[in-house]
Every structure is written in structure tokens, then in C-alpha cells.
Assembly symmetry: C2
Homo-oligomer: 187 residues x 2
Amino acid sequence: MRVLKYAILGLLNRKPMTGYDLSKEFSYQIGNFWSANHSQIYPELKRLLDEKLVVYNIEISGDVLEKKVYTITEKGRKEFLKWLNKDEPMEPTPKNVFRLRMYFSNNLDIETRIRLLEHQLVQHEEKLAFLLSEMQRYSGVPPFDSDDFGDYLVLDGAIMREKTTIEWLKKCIKICQSKTNCDEERN
Amino acid sequence: MRVLKYAILGLLNRKPMTGYDLSKEFSYQIGNFWSANHSQIYPELKRLLDEKLVVYNIEISGDVLEKKVYTITEKGRKEFLKWLNKDEPMEPTPKNVFRLRMYFSNNLDIETRIRLLEHQLVQHEEKLAFLLSEMQRYSGVPPFDSDDFGDYLVLDGAIMREKTTIEWLKKCIKICQSKTNCDEERN
DNA sequence: ATTAAACATGTAAATGTTGACATGTTATAT
DNA sequence: ATATAACATGTCAACATTTACATGTTTAAT
């Protein structure tokens, strides 16, 4: 599939960047649905260079530090657009360790279930708050041909996803609590 | 992390099974958040056997076919429960190729964007219909200590997730259509 | 009887991903 | 001046995952 290849080409299609810059990009918006460490990025850049999909220029930072600023080639742009236009079938649902735990949660104390759920909840609430703060910079749908367009759509999707996860976690907590309440009433 | 290890232990903790049975399990409910091919399952079972977390009995099917029916050991159950009780931090958001495409969608014709979005939409609607049919078998929250409890919670979560994805896709389509309408009015 | 689908168990190669190892520079704050 | 954080680029080993290779049996339909 080589998805990282296309993620990098797509980012370089926006503007020339170093491997380090690409690495940082994956901690921003794009990180909500794709990411890679620098240990994966540098070898991939080398490969893209071999395939003549990118080229680089050396820029000197300070006195001696050589930065490799990568630029997408015409061939690279063509391959990227070919990939982008492809209509591929839905991927299998993503793996999720927490949901796996909940799948087996009948083997846990009710109190433990609630504790685990509540820990997830605070984390997802923090994540949502962060995403909402990111959304602040948009007053409406950005121009259809601007880089911000996709950024806006997927940010919106990420917010919806977090909200639903939070709703689900709260529902699960409520269900577990209804059990503890029942038990207390019996005593 | 060895998540597959715990997924298998968890399933064997429910009831003894063959590698083939485990493989099939991943196409059922648990497949909504974890899966593995038989090529990963058989070696993992061998490893769990070495670690004395499982044992197997041979059952003859028909005349000669030897089935290895795996059972979890006390040691295996202990390790599984230890893992299950662990409170781990939220995982990074899952990778999603379609959202990556949408992130770069400013490079696509509006018509192509709509076509790709609508193709995803029908697939997610089918998936939702399937999940809802699965939910039919529950008339309420199953007993808190039954295997069905976790099954119910995650099925509910999967349904909520699909509904949100569908809502997002429709929103994206609407946004793209508002652009084509605008353009038509100008002509 | 025959055939096709489902049952059943494995290995091997390639690919994708993470975490650790390894090194050095530049800018900022104290 | 000096220490620290951020900048910058790479490799390597281990682990996880997918796809293809490889083989054979049993059950159900025709």
C-alpha cells in the first residue's frame, strides 16, 4: 500500500520541507489519522529520492548544519494525484485495545470497569478540548481549493469522533453504575 | 505489547477452541476492534503453548482429521486477568487512509470528492445495517458477568461510531455540493 | 458419484512500525 | 558562560502484520 509514501508526497506537494519538518507535521492535524516516526521517514525519503519522486536542496542553518529541504517532482505529483483519485473499498475497522478490554470486561470488578472507563473519559475530554481549540481558527468552510479545506473537514470529523467516543464512555459508565446502585439497595 | 496474545487468551477463557475457530471469531463481533489472520494465530498459539499459557487436546473430526482444541491454563488465566486490569493511557488516534485522502482533497475535482465520499457512505451504511441487525438479539443490557456484557457494550460503541462516520460523510458531501450549486448559479 | 464450500493447520517472504542507538548543531533562557 | 530545549539526520533490531505458498479432510449440495 505504501501509504506513508503518499502522505509524504501530499505534504511536500503543499510546500518543500525537511524530514524533520515532516516528522513534526505528524504531530499536527494529519496526526489524527496518520503518523510516522523519523526512523520511518528518513528511509522513505531516501526511497522516494531513488524513485525520482522528490529532490532535495541543501540549506545551511547557522554556520555548518546542513538541512535537506525536499521538493516534490513532476513525476511525484503525478503519482500522488493518481493515488488520490483512487476509489478504494472501506478499510477494516481500526484496532482498539481499550475496546478489546471492554469486550472482556465481564471478567473485571464493576469498580475496575468504572475506573478504566473514567480514565479513558478524561483523556478523550482533553483531546476534544484540544481539537475544539484548533477549530477556533476557522470561521467557516475554507476555500475549496486551499490546503485548509481538507484540514477543516478532517478536523471536524475528528471532533465528531471524539464526541461520540465520550458519549459511549459515559453510557458505559452509567450502565456499570446502575449495577453498583442495585447492589447497594439490596444490602 | 503482544495484544494478540491477550485477545487469544481472552477468547480461550470463554471456551476451548481450535486455531480455526479463533480465526473465525475475528470475523465476528471482536473483529470490530481486533483481528488477525490464521498465519498469525497458529504461530502465536505455538508460542502460548511454549509459555504454558494454553494446552491442547486432539479431537478427531470424521475419520482422520486431527483438530487441536486449545484450552487456557491457570497460568494463562492469571496473565490474562493481570493484563485486563491494567489501566493504560489512551492510544494514538487510529490510522485511516480515507481521511488522509480527504485531508489532501483540495487537489481533487469537486465531482471526484463527492464520488469518493458517496462510495464510502454506502459502505458505512451497509456496515451500520449489519451492526443493527446484530443488536437485534439483545433486548437490554446482558448480565454484568456474562460474556454478552462486553459484546453488547462494544457493539453499541461500533454502532455509534458508524452513525457518526455516516453523519460526517453526509456533511462533507453537503459542503462539496454547495460548491457545485454555487458554480452552476454563476453559469 | 462428483464437486464446491467450508473445515483445518501450518510456513515463508515481504512489508510496516516502533523503540533504541548514535551523533552533532543552533537558539534560547538563565 | 553555560545549560537546556529544540533542531537535524541517520541506522538497527525487534516486533507486528499481510500476502502468498502449501497441503489435506469433511460436509453439503447437485
